[in-house]
Symmetry: C2
Subunit: 217 residues, 2 copies
């Protein structure tokens, strides 16, 4: 399955890095912990980091009902939601050919304010499970008051593109003679040891899904 | 030293998390490997991930002279440059109080196209050194042709804010009685083993600044 490839959702710089199949797009959306959400207010761009979650063909974001971003976007302002994973530094022999290995998705569209309380609950489950799979079943789910204080926006995975760079550096032919180390330095996410809350009673063990937390795959 | 605190550069949601001193802002800008750059074209927002580098009071970004983002921004379109560091998952007893520990900066303004070739070279040095300190002195620096193919934009650190969350979860009083593990799961950047380019001659060792790569501090 592929997405709708509009002009703005087509990778123009280095088009060979463009990907339009949903498998690639969904994998990046799911592996990336946070997204950067863009909107326009008074003609100027705003880019805010926020958590997201995917349920099928929909990406959900949530926030305070009082948030500037959510208020603006729920009124029909166009959105751009970008998720970026950095996989490594690409160290070439020339400064010019330095790069990074990355996987990114840009999602364009108009967000829909989720008003149905069942969908809202499912969306919050999707975001929580996106952040840490297994958590939703363990915690107290939102009550009426909390649901009311939370705005949820839905963005369809429709007009979108992914951009992916992999592999080693590519230098200009003469530069291969230089005595400069070249290669890739892999980067990823590190997970530390879980730190229990000071108010946690003794005897509540760190759950398996916290101890084994990792993103991707 | 603090930044200019305009309306749009003031943290409105959870204002207690707002920071306006340059030390905090600069540290986040320097530790974050990439930024997300927002601009408006045809009334719609675009959010693109890109590398940046700081030199004193200026943040530089670079790209192909043919890039849509750089062309749009160099014509005076307003910009928002956001850098986000994720420090951990904050796992509360209720879904509602889940959060993440993060440090982010939003920089607003109008970018200036760097035309002076000396400043352009310094900017590319700043970006390279931002990505991997020590690299610039080792590699072949850009030639005339490469400089011409590269656009560099300068954004002053002037109208900006940082937003910082630290610490453990805060639950509602009754939820402390629940038998749910709560705490913080620290996250950061992992650095793998350097992978030499296939074309690298034997005898060129991995440089110290690659082997000991880390971000922050």
């Amino acid at each position: 399955m592929t997405v709708r490839r509009t002009a703005r959702a087509t990778v123009r710089r280095l088009p060979e890095r463009g990907r339009y199949d949903r498998d690639v797009i969904d994998t990046i959306l799911d592996e990336g912990l946070i997204c950067h959400l863009g909107f326009v207010a008074d003609g100027a761009p705003f880019v805010i980091p926020t958590l997201h979650g995917r349920d099928g063909d929909t990406v959900y974001v949530h926030g305070s009902a009082a948030s500037h971003a959510l208020k603006t976007l729920s009124q029909g302002a166009p959105a751009c939601l970008t998720v970026t994973l950095v996989d490594g530094l690409v160290l070439a022999r020339s400064a010019f050919h330095h790069s990074i290995n990355y996987r990114s998705v840009m999602l364009f569209g108009t967000a829909r304010l989720v008003t149905d309380s069942e969908e809202k609950m499912r969306a919050l489950e999707a975001v929580t499970q996106h952040v840490i799979p297994g958590r939703w079943a363990d915690v107290r789910t939102p009550n009426e008051k909390e649901l009311k204080a939370t705005s949820v926006l839905a963005l369809p995975i429709d007009e979108a593109s992914a951009k992916v760079r992999t592999g080693g550096p590519k230098d200009d032919e003469p530069d291969y003679a230089l005595s400069v180390w070249a290669g890739v330095l892999p980067l990823g996410m590190s997970v530390g040891e879980a730190l229990p809350d000071a108010a946690l009673p003794a005897g509540i063990a760190v759950p398996e899904y916290v101890r084994r937390y990792s993103r991707g795959k």
